[in-house]
Amino acid sequence: MARWDLFREMENMSREMDDVLRGIESGRRTFERLFFPELAGRGFPKLNVYQDAEHVYVEALLPGINPEEVEMNVLRNTLTLSGERKVEIPKEGKHVYHRRERGGGRFLRTIELPYSIDSAKAEATYKDGLLQVKLPKAEESKPKKLLVKAA
């Protein structure tokens, strides 16, 4: 009967946990680094939202798209972004992909902003794969200090 070695048992368990965590981690990492994941139905592109007194700013990571083909709609306090990055098809001839991670395809994202927007004055720029949208707040949305009273 083999002796049961506590330390070896713990070492094995620790190695198994490492493998599981590495699997999860690399899975998550793979998912995180895609800008156009093919299987995710929602949540892309990734957006950051900022504000100052006069504007709301939305940034979206959208590498390799044609900005003229992006549709952007602003209605009251809702912004909708949609478009497509075409998947590149290599030219004729023998070729093989060693890696194919970048993906492509359609995207559609609607985000509700915390303020009403004056949509007539919305502006957007696209530089180096980053779409930056500048949305002026509607007059009644500009902030005034509010005090929250504890009940």
Partner: protein, 132 residues
Amino acid sequence: MENKDMTIQPAGDIRKVEETRNGKQFFVPPVDILEDEDGLTLVADLPGADKEGISIGIEDDILIIEGRFAAAPQGENIHREFEPRDYHRRFQLYEGIDREKASAEYHDGVLTLRLPKAEAAKPRQIKIETRH
């Protein structure tokens, strides 16, 4: 659409991928690597990086691609789905690439790196196209 050549150090053939960790947190950019008869094309998504902040280099046969995230946040953050992190990725290389003819272009957040094969590595003689 710009099409600027960037000076890079020459690279070897990309076969094996090796990624190592750095102390800082980085975005690992997704890449497509396509091999044809004439060489390798590596395409990486680096949205938010400016051309001046991109570096492509070789250290001991490892190709390193780095990009500096240039966009500065405006105002106060109220919703965040990505951090403004720099990009970093490395690849293991070996011989077979014509180092002198490597080239790169960058626009709209997409870096395209072209690594032509050395004549000896090609299956047969193919006419060499001149690139502008």
